[in-house]
Amino acid sequence: MTDATQSDTAFRPKPSLPPPANTVGVVGWMRKNLFGGPVDTVLTLLGVYLLYVILDFVVDYGIVNAIWTADSYRECLDINKGEGACWAGIGVWFNSMMYGRYPDEEQWRINFGGIVLLLWLIPFWLPKVSGKIQVGISAVLTFPFLAASLFIGGDIGIFLHAMTAIALTLFVSVWLNVATCYLMGKSLPAVLISVTGFADKDDRLHKYVLLGAFGVGFVLALLYHLSWDLVEVPTTIWGGLFLTLVISGIGISSALPSGILLALGRRSKMPVIRVFCTAFIELFRSVPLITILFMAVTMMPLFLPVEFNPPKLAMVIVAVCIFAAAYMAETVRGGLQAVNKGQYEAAQAMGLNFWKMMALIVMPQALKLMIPNIVGSFMGLMKDTTLVSIIGLYDILLMGKAAGQNPTWLGFHTEPLLFTATIFFVLCFAMSKYSQHLERTIGGGYGRR
């Protein structure tokens, strides 16, 4: 190796040199992406100028010239001549834009309901918790009853009492399940069964044990709930973001199940069902939501008996649900068609009946493919609920408009709109981001195929 001639012929790699300074780092990136040629350079400068103009305006309007405390719109205008925002007004109207005319001293009920819903859904994201599907289904099916008895109050009737008690029992079970999963590493049913000492007995007995436990919980919840005494708050004075979330929340959570049923119906071999579902979907998809809303609140009462006079909000919610279901049905149908025929055949060959085949094999695959479309429909629906303002429900948009018609705040229009837009943006952007996350985790899933 020390021989000079040998080292001449041996392969010696050339030393690695750093790349030319003007192709890497910030300077390199800018040269490549911003100033690649005369056209690029002009466009870049134009873009920078536009950005400057916009930012300058936003900062001036929103911060520098903005008024943060004032008692009337007049006062704002006197100070900044309308060259800045009057954020003071948002402070004054904030409560109305959130809760509508819901009485101040009762608003805790809305907050409480919202917190319960959030808590109900949190176990969904806790990794160690078992039975996530049950958590979701229990929330979707029973929370609306709890919310109704909480938000409406007054004399709610025995049915709503019972459903609320079921909801409360399930809510508590969900969190007991979280506790047992984290503290004992077992699900709540498993713990209940092992506590009673029937662990080695057969399944039928297990079911009775669980039913019994649920029954005890139900009775306790019912007794507790009967002691609630809430003032009635009629739906006519509900409003603001609260109303928007009620309508879109019910619309969104009913859209998927009813859309699935309609889509299956449309593919059914039974002609009556198929024709009915197809007609339903095509009819409501081809009509603007606003028309359906008008029909619901103006024409429906004409067909219904006088003594049966549901509140406007109920009609609107039904209309929104129908509309959302019709749209979702087509989304779901698209997903169903993307599932390979062999999957159906394998499921049938194993003896799974139609509903089990759909629930266990086809739907999970179809829904996975449809996540972007589903979330897209949800976002559309959420924004479409602002149309209820046209038929006179004081959702967040109409509440903002009402602010500008108040004598003290006459002309206060821009800021409520900006505020509303921001809220919708935050909600929809969050949904969009979450759907991307879902796509990456379960969508990209199947064991990183």
Binding site: E345, Y446, R449
Partner: protein, 264 residues
């Protein structure tokens, strides 16, 4: 077809275990796709423990025939009786038959969103109401029998074709069927994977399972089949023991088919 390399000891025929009991009976079965007469007056009786290989040119109706046996296809005329149950339009009968008849497909048709183990336990849990622990125990036994217990936690997309097909076989067996249908189980596989699947099928034959196998693997037919059926244009043209069928075919159509398939 590489008859000589597929199976280690193909000269020894797997011992037959045929009983007198008829488990599948097709009587004058006819089927049409629209105007197209795809099955023409099929008559076939299969005894318990019998192993039948079905071959024939593409489009001759082989798949259609075995798919009628578990009602993946509906026939329009004639009777199909499986394990004494008449296949009618009665959903109960169809379900009963499907529980007893396992099927393995050319394209495997594993459920991609479930792990291998879940693929195997799904039907026992949801069709037979078996407790999960028991279903998993049985599934692991069958996965061991098809020699891939170590893949139980993986997803189908992470396995090779041969492994997937073996999972598919294990999945069917988990329902403890009395009859197994195979529709070209090795046709979608690379040559080196064919034998691993055929080995499993030979092992299954040794347990006395009633098997109907659509395949062009003639080595498998010689080794395992009790009867070879040749179909063309929706008819059963010829059926015989493998010895007779390969060495002494009766019809000219069969001779032509054999000369084509063995020419490779």
């Amino acid at each position: 077809m590489s008859i000589d390399t597929q199976l280690p000891d193909e000269t020894v025929h797997v011992a037959s275990a045929i009983s007198d009991e008829v488990v599948i009976e097709l009587a004058s079965v006819n089927k049409w796709y629209g105007e197209f007469h795809v099955l023409k007056d099929i008559n076939l009786a299969v005894n318990k423990g019998e192993r039948i290989v079905i071959c024939g040119p593409s489009g001759s109706g082989k798949s259609t025939m075995i798919r009628c046996i578990n009602r993946l296809e509906e026939h329009q005329a004639g009777d199909i009786i499986v394990n004494g149950t008449e296949m009618g339009t009665n959903i109960k009968n169809i379900d009963a038959i499907r529980r007893d008849v396992g099927m393995v497909f050319q394209q495997f048709n594993l459920f991609p969103h479930l792990s291998v183990l879940e693929n195997c336990t799904l039907a026992p849990i949801w069709v037979k109401n078996m407790p999960k622990a028991e279903a998993e125990k049985i599934a692991m036994e069958y996965l061991e029998r098809v020699k891939i217990p170590e893949q139980a936690g993986k997803y189908p997309g992470q396995l090779s074709g041969g492994q997937q097909q073996r999972v598919a076989i294990a999945r069917s067996l988990c329902m403890s069927p009395t009859i197994m249908l195979f529709d070209e189980p090795t046709s979608a596989l690379d040559p080196e994977m064919i034998s691993e699947v055929l080995d499993v099928m030979v092992g299954l034959a040794e347990t006395g399972m009633t098997m109907l196998v659509v395949t062009h693997e003639m080595g498998f037919a010689k080794r395992v089949a009790d009867r070879v059926i040749f179909m063309d244009q929706g008819e059963i043209v010829e059926q015989n023991t493998p010895d007779e069928f390969f060495t002494n075919p009766k019809s000219d159509r069969t001779k032509l088919f054999l000369s084509q398939i063995l020419a490779h």
